[in-house]
């Protein structure tokens, strides 16, 4: 019972209190560019979860064998392997989306979340916990991604997942899509506001790092 609750804690912590994007400021590099549409954000979140959980699992399995001074390059090759698998899979089964994600799937390799989890968690914990930690971090990252994409797609083009949700009647009343939401600056500003909100809700935490 105790193990179960520990695993649950590891799973849930990165989703809210220790969110990799909003609190730890990791992985924003690739997070913002794919959030114009919910669909791409969703696929990106799944790819990321797959890559981070599998590579944490593998690295944790090998943690007693990896020599300490070359661990970074070993970690990088494990991560790249899973990213290549993801990329080939997307190319084979979801070609359109993989075109839209373009370079950002490849950039999962240099995403600080994956590397950070490998260094900070997988190297010192048993593999099943590392796997769960990976899923938690992937979900934490994914939820931020989806939320930004939700705001941007809804306000920017009136769609969700590519389906129109703002009824024509509203457009007839003179409502217009905010094209600004589709541009890069909007993503920065939305994430800034989200961090502000979360910091206020969780009452501070640590200040500027």
């Amino acid at each position: 019972m105790k193990i179960k609750s520990k695993a649950l804690k590891i799973l849930l912590r990165p989703i809210w209190t220790d969110n990799p994007v909003n609190i730890q400021m990791l992985g924003i590099c690739s997070a913002l560019a794919v959030t114009v549409q919910l669909k791409t954000a969703f696929v990106m979140a799944l790819s990321m979860t797959f890559a981070v959980s599998c590579s944490s699992f593998m690295i944790s399995l090998m943690r007693k064998q990896i020599p300490k001074n070359i661990r970074i390059i070993v970690e990088l090759s494990v991560i790249s392997t899973f990213v290549i698998i993801t990329d080939e899979f997307l190319r084979a089964y979801m070609y359109d989306i993989s075109k839209q994600l373009s370079v950002f799937v490849g950039l999962i390799i240099t995403n600080c979340i994956v590397m950070g989890r490998a260094e900070a968690f997988a190297l010192s914990n048993p593999s099943h916990l590392a796997f769960i930690d990976g899923i938690g971090n992937g979900a934490g990252y994914g939820s931020v991604l989806m939320l930004i994409a939700f705001i941007r797609e809804l306000l920017g083009s009136g769609n969700l997942f590519g389906f129109q949700v703002v009824p024509d009647a509203v457009y007839a009343l003179g409502y217009e899509d905010a094209g600004f939401m589709l541009l890069a600056p909007a993503a920065f500003i939305i994430i800034g506001l989200m961090v502000w909100l979360q910091k206020t809700l969780t009452k501070g935490g640590e200040s500027d790092k």
Binding site: V83, D87, G106, L107, N111, A184, A187, I189
Partner: protein, 203 residues
């Protein structure tokens, strides 16, 4: 031809700024923009590494990995392009290491300024991102040199101006919870808007 190159340079510095339009290199951007001197140091190191690694990866891609690239070795049907992620990151890491050793050997002053930043750069998304964009956009060798250099300059400009703004922000009085990270992101957003206005320039 030259007009295109000038246009590409301006695009990669301003409208297609690798940080403000493509969000690459955010992690170190947020972490290092607190002090203007370190920001300039890191920015210069990024310019340097991007100018070297983007063309290097162009050569690797076009002579080893692209479909049919191995024709010179008698293997015209081989397509190794799925190897590009792992090979690019290896090239970048090796290049960074080599540059570090060279600088250490020949210029102590430059090493004192840039040395600490070089290892950080190996995992900067902007470097790998530029190489992947180079493949994605089918650039020629010359274009890849210009693109690498221009992206570096764009990144340098962004991080330097951000560091300058953050010095002023120290005296600002934002609502609680907003100081630091959240405020940086919002300022970045405003800066990205300013850079987009350059899109009127065309050659």
């Amino acid at each position: 031809m030259t007009e295109n190159l000038v246009g590409l340079f301006l695009y990669s510095v301003f409208t297609g700024n690798i940080l403000l339009a493509y969000f690459l290199g955010m992690c170190s951007f947020v972490a290092v923009s607190k002090n203007i001197n370190t920001a300039i140091g890191l920015g210069l190191a990024v310019v340097f590494v991007l100018t070297v690694t983007t063309p290097a990866n162009w050569l690797i891609y076009h002579y080893l990995l692209a479909p049919g690239a191995l024709a010179w070795a008698g293997l015209p049907d081989v397509d190794l392009s799925f190897f590009k992620f792992i090979l690019f990151i290896a090239v970048i890491a090796a290049m960074v290491q080599a540059i570090e050793i060279l600088i250490d050997r020949f210029s102590a002053a430059l090493y004192a300024g840039l040395g600490v930043f070089l290892p950080l750069i190996a995992v900067n998304c902007a470097i790998l991102g530029a190489s992947l964009f180079m493949v994605e956009r089918n650039q020629t060798f010359l274009e890849s040199v210009i693109f690498g250099f221009g992206s570096g300059v764009g990144w340098l400009m962004a991080i330097t101006s951000m560091a300058a703004i953050r010095i002023k922000l120290r005296y600002a009085d934002p609502p609680p919870g907003m100081e630091g990270y959240a405020l940086t992101m919002i300022v970045t957003g405003l800066m990205a808007m300013a850079f987009m206005l350059f899109s009127g320039i065309s050659f």
